[in-house]
């Protein structure tokens, strides 16, 4: 085997940005990706955009989006749980990322239909994240980066302040290499539902994983076991409410359901449990993951009527449809009497709906029931009726490796001289809770490039 200067663990956005940057700096780079080729690219293959600061129109982005506004947006969603220095670094660097991405094969498109609100802040990849990943693999290949698929890293041997050895399996055999420098870009641990269950309790077994089944946190656990500094709350994960019929893994974007604001949501006992109309859906869909997780069997049911069917983006599975509530209750497996009672109470709590406006907080509210529905509260009484089941879909976990502004990892005695981390696996260093759409790819791109640059400088 060739002697590589740098081994990159993982094959998603962060790994590829690191590998390309290092190879351009003259390093010989090997990528170890545990997934087979058709599933390469981790969660990055499911993404659609990245959030990018810009001073004036840039590529597909309109107007401008300054560093401070970006940071404010971030602080709002993380409730201050943010490392401001690293966050500013990511935000400031994001502007130069866009041209860098284009120069390395990524193509952008105007904001997708239904996402106009993001046209200023988020640059959409043409064809989505998988085409981004494809472009980077082509670029990396042209730079001489070698890629091993189905190469599953099991252990990094820490010896003093260096990683001395990487153990991995490939095609059924065990292999080891002694790397000069290592970049860990192998994502979070959300696909390991046992680990999730240890952190969350047994309810987590019922969660669906929105992205790749390959991010099982093997390398993360291995490094944490050896005393590498960690960051982030192990019990935290980013979770949204998705269609309950979604596959266990890799359902991706199409399983999201945008109809909650126009619905009532009940648990399996046919009881409402939260204000469905609290805010516009993009601002609320993340909390519904937790709300559903707290219900019996971690499942809930959305019910709308024909008035609302065309008000939201279609999702992958058609809703269950029935001409009467009785039939719908049967199809959803809900207790009929209780469902009728809940629905009657809700319908009679609805008042004047003339101000109904689907895309704005319209103040069309219920009176006299708990929980109230504070916007878009129209009675559900116009057949046919439609129902979806909802489950908790985990996007990523927050526990990760703690890094500094050079993406380097540490333990109690100081920096690990030849170990860097990028992407999801160190994102906890920047934000400890909440999430801002498009920030994951920003972190991966910025810190991937930093890690690639630093590792190459070390190796040369």
């Amino acid at each position: 085997m060739t002697n590589y200067d740098i081994t990159v663990i993982g094959g998603g956005n962060a790994a590829l940005c690191a590998a390309i940057t290092a190879a351009e700096a003259g390093a010989r780079v090997l990528i170890l990706e545990t997934a087979p080729k058709p599933y390469r690219g981790g969660n990055s293959r499911h993404t659609r955009n990245f959030r990018c600061a810009h001073d004036g129109p840039l590529g597909p982005l309109v107007e401008s989006y300054g560093e401070n506004e970006y940071l404010d947006d971030l602080l709002k969603v993380t409730a201050g749980n943010t490392d401001e220095k690293l966050a500013r670094l990511a935000i400031r660097s994001s502007e130069e990322c866009l041209p860098w991405m284009e120069a390395h094969g990524v193509r952008f498109q105007p904001s997708l239909s239904g996402t106009l609100s993001l046209a200023r802040t988020n640059a959409f990849f043409m064809g989505g994240g998988k085409s981004l990943v494809n472009a980077y693999y082509r670029t990396a290949d042209a730079l001489g980066v070698d890629v091993l698929y189905e190469a599953h890293v099991t252990h990094l041997e820490l010896s003093g302040d260096r990683i001395a050895r990487i153990d991995y399996t490939h095609q059924g055999d065990d292999h080891s290499i002694e790397p000069t420098a290592v970049i860990v870009a192998s994502g979070g641990f959300q696909a390991d539902t046992d680990w999730l269950a240890r952190a969350w309790g047994p309810a987590a077994k019922n969660f669906l994983i929105r992205g790749t089944p390959y991010n099982r946190g093997v390398v993360l656990a291995d490094l944490l076991d050896q005393g590498i500094d960690s960051v982030g709350d192990p019990t935290q994960c980013h979770a949204v409410a998705i269609d309950g019929r979604a596959p266990k893994f890799d359902g991706g974007i199409v399983t999201r359901l945008d109809c909650v604001p126009f619905s009532i949501v009940v648990n399996k006992q046919a009881e409402r449990f939260y204000d469905e109309g609290e805010d516009v859906w993009p601002k609320r869909y993340a909390i519904w993951g937790r709300l559903v997780a707290a219900q019996p069997d971690q499942v809930a049911y959305v019910i709308i009527d024909s008035k609302s069917l065309d008000l939201f983006m279609p999702s992958v599975f058609p809703p269950l449809k029935a001409d009467t509530i009785e039939n719908l209750a049967g199809m959803l497996g809900l207790p009929l009497a209780k469902l009728c009672e809940t629905l009657d109470a809700f319908n009679s709590a609805c008042g004047d709906t003339s101000a109904f406006h689907p895309t704005e907080l319209d103040g069309v509210t219920t009176t006299g029931i708990a929980p109230a529905k504070t916007n878009w509260a129209r009675p559900i009484n116009t057949p046919p009726f439609y129902g979806y089941s909802l489950r908790t879909g985990v996007t990523f976990t927050y526990l990760g490796l703690k890094v500094d502004e050079t993406a380097q990892c540490f333990n109690a005695t100081g920096p690990i001289r030849n170990l860097w981390a990028a992407g999801e696996t160190m994102a906890g260093s920047i934000l400890g809770q909440g999430y801002l759409a498009g920030f994951g790819m920003t972190i991966g791109t910025v810190f991937g490039r930093i890690a690639g640059r630093e590792a190459a400088a070390y190796a040369n």
Binding site: G114, M126, G128, S131, N134, G252, P318
Partner: protein, 354 residues
């Protein structure tokens, strides 16, 4: 139309409608995203808007082995061919050629045979040049119906297509918008202008677009050459053969060369492409058609090259046989795509303004 193919394309279209990541690639996606439910006519229209660039296949996170098993280029290619077959007239011929290159080859041999026979039976009736081999009136008697009948057949099919996709009466603006796109093959460039993912997995390349341009413009030049010849013949009383510095030759020689090279290039690209991303059953018919078209161009050039030698009559029979076969098969081969695609672009232009 085959409901199983429509249903499979519909299933995939509904997934795309929830995803939208490919919106920038081509006209299919904006058209798709403007709807929520897809009737048979909607799916047929989408299928005829697609030109099988495969960008959306390689970009898709849901291709096999994922359980959603997306392969939109294939699903739409199958509906497309099925729509051409189902709408073709007369029906007994409709399903013979799209899936069978062999049938196209046999038709070609029959075309050759017919020409040799005509040459022997009718002969020159005293003309010069080509007409010394086969008289002008015999050629007209053969080729006028061989062109007009297929055009009539295609006209019937397009009318049925227009009904199926709820087309409205055409306006000048529709024509303008659609021909602009077709002339530049805007869609073949993909949204970012870097071409198709055809011959080398997800690498973008202009090869297919350029090969197609060569074929299209080569074909149009050859057709213009024939028209020029007809005009010279009837209006200026100047019958073939024409010298090199004449309109029919100046149009026909580059046209024939472009057509021949374009078809060879396209065949080579098709051989390198992944058959499972198109309509696998139409593979043979597509290759057969491309070779037939290429041979039509090549035999025309050869006819010019052999000049007035003893080879000329044989070459003339081969060339005319190829032209005849090509014309007669137009409604039943890949050639139909040009007509349907134009209709689909027209309908799409209308929908934007509805």
């Amino acid at each position: 139309m085959r409901t199983d193919l429509i249903q499979e394309a519909r299933r995939q279209a509904e997934i795309c409608n929830a995803c939208r990541y490919c919106e920038g690639y081509c006209s299919v996606f904006p058209a798709l995203h403007s709807q929520r439910a897809f009737a048979e006519g909607d799916i047929t229209q989408l299928a005829n808007l697609c030109h099988n660039c495969r960008g959306c296949y390689y970009a898709c996170q849901y291709t096999a082995p994922h359980e959603f098993d997306l392969n939109l280029p294939k699903a739409l290619a199958e509906v497309r061919r099925d729509s051409w077959e189902s709408l073709a007239w007369p029906q007994p011929l409709a399903k013979r050629f799209h899936t069978q290159g062999g049938a196209i080859a046999m038709a070609l041999v029959a075309g050759f045979a017919l020409m040799f026979l005509a040459i022997r039976a009718v002969g020159s009736a005293g003309g010069d040049g080509f007409y010394a081999v086969l008289s002008h009136s015999a050629m007209v008697a053969l080729f006028a119906p061989a062109l007009l009948l297929p055009l009539f057949s295609i006209g019937l099919s397009l009318r049925a297509y227009w009904r199926m996709v709820d087309g409205r009466p055409l306006t000048l603006a529709d024509l303008n918008a659609a021909f602009n796109r077709a002339a530049h093959m805007t869609d073949l460039a993909a949204g970012h202008g870097e071409g198709c993912n055809f011959e080398d997995e997800d690498r973008f390349s202009q090869s297919r677009r350029y090969a197609h341009q060569a074929i299209l413009y080569g074909f149009l030049l050859c057709f213009a050459a024939t028209c020029a010849g007809t005009i010279l013949h009837y209006l200026f009383n100047s019958p073939a053969p024409y010298p090199f510095w004449s309109l029919p030759k100046l149009l026909g020689i580059p046209g024939g060369a472009l057509l021949t090279l374009g078809c060879a290039w396209m065949t080579w690209l098709k051989l390198k492409s992944d058959r499972t991303l198109g309509d696998p059953r139409a593979w043979g018919g597509d290759i057969g058609f491309t070779l037939l078209l290429g041979f039509t161009g090549l035999s025309g050039l050869m006819l010019f090259a052999v000049g007035d030698t003893a080879w000329m009559p044989g070459m003339l029979a081969l060339h005319l046989g190829a032209v005849l076969t090509f014309f007669l098969l137009m409604p039943f081969t890949k050639m139909a795509h040009g007509f349907y695609r134009t209709a689909a672009l027209l309908r799409n232009a209308q929908r934007y303004r509805e």
